[in-house]
């Protein structure tokens, strides 16, 4: 039977949820306008006042915030509460550009942990569970978020943080952990190590895993589920909006329910900023309607997703988002079709190739061309030209099924795809040079 942490909210009727969002949005816009000069300026420039925002239907009138705004406003420019009322900061890893610093009041922390409690409950967690949290602790939101959610649910919480995998497994066995929270790649590694150490799933009591903070495929999900003998649930979030728990997966495992009482989600066209209808693929935008210290309005996540309100078998009425399909920064428009390198990567992995590839887009005779170079692997190689050409055709057909447009696939020897600073250059768009 499906368990809920907050059934009233999670299964609320659409009308009631909209009413709740309307009230909270109106109040939030007033709070931000009065306390965040940076955003007030953006609203003034757009000629929007808090009075113009009467319900969620007016959301589109508000200006967007982007990562660039967060950098410009660093560190206090988007703060909406006095520092004396803030109790915590969390921060992004800062791999691209300046780090993002987010502030939390105690109320913000409570709501965030509550979102994580919903995720843990949806994964079957109760106060009788032992929850092993191997996300990193510290500035990264993964550890603190799930740790807090686990406390709320009342699980016996193992604040392991990441690393020292053999010790993780020893604790998992000795303390009979039933729920594992970490990144999917670390879960896969724990699974491998468990078997290398000579154990099997019979030696552990795990039943569920809550994995997020990085992209992962359905295939990876199946592998983790098999190697650890669990059901693996996805969780989504970002430091800018709080951390993990913005959305979470239920037993149906077909997308993540967004905690709409705290976050309003929109899908926009990343080029025009126009709001797209339900079911469209586009950039995910979040408006925090309950956060006090760091309430971002219409924050562009750069994640490309699809939202759906189709009835979910779990009983929740919260809107569902797909796994992010790619980043809007990476999006290519080829012959009018939105293409993400990550989609091609997914096909390669499914077809048994290493994800070492390069996409070349060009325009020849006013028509876009898509060439995909893929590094050959030993097991696909043959001494005969026709076999290799057959492999190229098969891969091209699989990519066409995924993208809807036909590429030309070229298998190339390993390590021949250009790398800069050790990272392969994924996309060469020659059209921009014209």
């Amino acid at each position: 039977m499906e368990r809920y942490w907050n059934k009233e909210i999670e299964c609320m009727s659409r009308e009631d949820m909209k009413k709740l969002q309307d009230e909270r949005l109106v109040a939030q816009v007033k709070h931000v306008y009065a306390n965040v000069p940076y955003y007030k300026k953006l609203m003034d420039e757009k000629g929007v006042t808090p009075d113009d925002i009467r319900s969620t239907a007016d959301l589109h009138k508000l200006p967007f915030l982007t990562k660039a705004d967060l950098r410009e406003a660093y560190p206090y420019g988007l703060l909406a509460k006095p520092l004396s009322e803030c109790v915590r900061i969390q921060s992004t890893s800062g791999t691209t550009g300046k780090r993002v610093v987010a502030f939390y009041t105690q109320h913000d922390i409570d709501l965030w942990e509550d979102c994580c409690a919903r995720a843990i409950t949806a994964a079957g967690g109760t106060k009788d569970d032992v929850c092993q949290v191997c996300y990193g602790y510290g500035l990264f939101t993964g550890g603190p978020g799930l740790n807090g959610g686990s406390h709320k649910v009342g699980c016996l919480t193992l604040p392991m943080s990441s690393g020292n995998t053999e010790r993780q497994i020893q604790f998992m066995i000795d303390l009979q952990s039933t729920i594992l929270c970490c990144t999917p790649s670390y879960a896969a590694y724990i699974g491998e190590t468990l078997h290398e150490m000579g154990y099997t799933t019979d030696d552990i009591k795990l039943k569920a895993g809550i994995f997020g903070a990085e992209p992962w495929t359905e295939e990876m999900r199946r592998e983790i589920e098999k190697s650890l003998g669990i059901k693996a649930y996805d969780i989504y979030g970002l430091t800018e909006t709080s951390g993990p728990g913005v959305s979470f997966e239920c037993s149906e495992q077909t997308g993540m329910h967004i905690n709409e009482d705290h976050f309003i989600a929109e899908i926009i066209d990343p080029d025009t900023g126009e709001v797209l209808p339900e079911g469209s693929k586009g950039e995910l935008v979040f408006t925090s309607i309950t956060k006090e210290a760091f309430p971002l309005l219409r924050y562009r996540t750069r994640d490309i997703c699809v939202l759906t309100r189709e009835k979910c078998s779990c009983g929740r009425t919260l809107v569902k988002m797909s796994k992010p399909l790619g980043r809007s920064d990476d999006m290519l428009i080829i012959r009018g079709v939105n293409v993400f390198p990550s989609q091609i990567e997914t096909v390669l992995i499914e077809q048994g190739y290493a994800p070492n590839y390069q996409i070349e887009v060009d325009r020849i005779n006013n028509s876009d061309t898509l060439d995909v170079n893929v590094e050959m692997s030993d097991d696909k190689f043959s001494d005969m030209v026709k076999d290799i050409q057959q492999k190229e055709r098969e891969l091209a057909a699989a990519i066409k099924t995924m993208l809807g447009i036909s590429p030309k696939v070229h298998l190339v020897p390993p390590k021949t795809i250009a790398r800069s600073e050790g990272k392969a250059v994924r996309v060469i768009d020659k059209r921009k040079l014209v």
Binding site: M376, S377, D378, F381, S382, D383, M384, V385, I388, Q389, H410, L411, V412, P413, P414, K415, T416
Partner: protein, 143 residues
């Protein structure tokens, strides 16, 4: 009767072959025969060498994509009807030749042909029945 042939996946770019031959020279490997199949994008370099297993290892270690295939070597001057006789014999036995290439032994001034067929066992049977001279692996490697 089967000879191990090494195939290497190479870029269709100048200088790629010399990188392979240099590696072989450094490892004291002698090339007995060589052929290249080219397309617009890639090439497959096929080699018969004196030490195929070692060569394969050395190439893999250096990061090349390599495979070993069993092929047949046959002397052609002493074959009835020369090369066309070989082809006719295989055709009659319903065996497809995927590719073939010739080479010459330095010592004996003799021409040989390497045959890659779709069925080695049946090809050998047909060739032996028709009195063609097949080379043993050791004969080719130690040539």
């Amino acid at each position: 009767m089967l000879i191990k042939q090494i195939s290497i996946f190479v870029e269709n770019k100048p200088g790629r072959l010399s990188a392979v031959t240099k590696l072989l020279a450094e490892n004291n490997i002698d090339i007995r025969a060589l052929s290249v199949a080219d397309t617009k994008d890639f090439g497959i370099l096929r080699l018969i060498v004196n030490k195929p297993d070692e060569t394969c290892e050395a190439l893999k270690k250096a990061g090349w994509t390599v495979s070993l295939t069993n092929v047949i070597a046959i002397g052609i001057t002493d074959a009835p009807g020369g090369l066309s006789g070989v082809v006719e014999c295989l055709y009659a036995a319903n065996i497809s030749v995927e590719y073939m290439y010739a080479f010459i032994s330095k010592a004996e001034d003799q021409a040989y042909v390497i045959l890659r067929v779709d069925n080695n066992d049946r090809a050998i049977e047909a060739l032996v029945e028709n009195n063609f001279t097949l080379l043993k692996a050791s004969e080719v490697y130690d040539m």
